[in-house]
Amino acid sequence: MNEKKDTIILAFESSCDETSVALVRNGAQVLAQSTATQIQSHQRFGGVVPEVASRHHIEQIIGCLDDVFQQTGLGYTDLAAVAVTYGPGLVGALLVGVSAVKAVAFAHNLPLVPVNHMAGHIYAARYTAPIEFPAMALLVSGGHTELVYMPQENDYQIIGETRDDACGEAFDKIGRVLGINYPAGKEIDELAHQGKDTFNFPRAMEKEDNYDFSFSGLKSAFINTVHHADQIGTKLSHADLAASFEQSVVDVLAEKTVRALHNFPVKQLILAGGVAANSGLRTRLEKECAQIQGVDLLEAPLKYCGDNAAMIGAAGYVGFKHGNRAGMTLNAEPGLEFPWLSV
């Protein structure tokens, strides 16, 4: 039996279409993780249907929980705490994880650590290297696009975010136009590598003096270009379309991020979220960071870029150390956000 020199946290994640449970040691080592993905179910509908997602979570949650105990041979007495994503996300989906974690905390009298899903995405990078402060995180996923400043551990402040579509959402929407199944990010990324930026789509808000993003103009320009070509009977290169779209996204994200790095001296730029797997974005930010003195790029391992419980365990460990606790009244908070930078 573990002598509790180590802090082992049992973590739950169910905010969207992945049911995931993990056992994490000291916020840095994944002892076991079991994830059930529903992508194939939602592909029927071209996107995540909340009620369907909630139903799948309740089918999967105990199986995932059982897996991590079976894989490690650990028991409840080995645990220091339990942690859970309580927002942001789909309310019905979040409620499955929140209800389950409260039942475990009550049954075994364990401290309960509430975790913001976005802090989880940032801490996925912890599985590459320790996070050093102050740090900046660029969070890009299907639901979120934001720049988060972290002056110290357990302190997250938004400095900019998307005004309309999330970055990953834009990928899915133009994917539909190109006949690519949801989630479209990976396939568009591959396609982009075979093409060139020939369409020169708009770079929204690129020169504006803030850290906010916008992708709806780009999305409209893309859709109009394709529809116009359809009407006059021309065939456009999907590879060039994808490359042009991706280049515009990468330019906007990189421009704003670099501006933030110049105004907020940090030790690390953390690239996090599902879209962090995009190779065009990774390459570009690597190049940009190499040119800024003292800033290292820290990327989450590819396997922890999507939604998973390991990242919740890593962020939960930090929250646990800092005394973040929730009681039995913990509720799902679908619109949960970090505070904005206080100036």
């Binding site: 993905t37 029927r44 249907v49 309740i58 089918e59 209800s99 009550f106 009244t329 509720n331």
Partner: protein
């Protein structure tokens, strides 16, 4: 046998601890706006009142549906996880049967608990007392209220539930000349004590596979099936583990 019973299937919230047929503690409210916030504190409270520890129970009994999808998931997830992590038995009972259990009647009376399912639809079932046992004689179903009335015509009917009042005008029309009554108001709220006694004799379920009985597939899926009639059950699997 010590039982924890949980019903969050509709607006009321009820939890109880029982020892066999005897009630130890019960917490029943109709003012809970959010079962996610109120369920666990209510469970904590009845354990405290009865001076029991979670590991001392033998079985968790949960109202499995039909009812509010979100309410069912909060109750069922909590029940599943408690049963799994305490290594106790899990039993599901019809949420409609819980209401029927609260009404004593003679062996000729058809008890018809009703939940509003909107757009003139209801969740309803038919139950009868037979030799001290409550029997399900008409399966729980999602059905239009007028069809339900057709199914139960010619019987001595007793409607149960807070939602019956919403159908008062239709009742007069559809059940004109029929022998029916509405159960008194105090039986319209489900009580976890009744749930627990119903769950006492049932066989334990597989905890992992246990899901709510929604009695309806989702709108997205029914539309998808209409567009893809040949797919049916062969499609899938929808969830992949890694």
């Amino acid at each position: 046998m010590k039982i924890l019973a949980i019903d969050t299937s509709n607006r009321p919230l009820s939890v109880a601890l029982l020892e066999d047929q005897t009630l130890l503690a019960e917490n029943t409210t109709t003012v809970s706006k959010n079962h996610s916030v109120t369920l666990m504190p209510a469970i904590e409270e009845i354990f405290k009142q009865s001076q029991l520890k979670p590991e001392e129970i033998d079985r968790v009994v949960v109202a499995q549906g039909p009812g509010s999808y979100t309410g069912l998931r909060i109750g069922v997830t909590t029940a599943k996880t408690l049963a799994y992590s305490l290594n106790k038995e899990l039993v599901g009972v019809s949420s409609l049967a819980v209401l029927a259990k609260g009404v004593q009647a003679d062996a000729k009376t058809l008890l018809v608990p009703v939940f509003d399912a909107r757009r003139d639809n209801v969740f309803a079932g038919g139950y009868m007392w037979d030799d001290g046992q409550l029997k399900n004689v008409l399966p729980d179903q999602h059905i239009s209220f007028s069809k339900l009335c057709k199914q139960i015509m010619g019987k001595e009917v007793c409607f149960i539930g807070a939602d019956v009042a919403k159908f008062a005008n239709q009742l007069k029309e559809l059940m004109a000349g029929q022998d029916y009554r509405i159960a008194p108001a105090e039986s319209a709220v489900p009580r976890a004590f009744n749930l627990g006694t119903l769950g006492l004799l049932k066989e334990a379920e597989n905890v992992n596979d246990f899901v709510p009985r929604y009695l309806r597939i989702t709108q997205a899926e029914s539309q998808w099936l209409k567009r893809n009639p040949q797919e049916g059950k062969k499609h899938g699997p929808y969830v992949k583990k890694y």
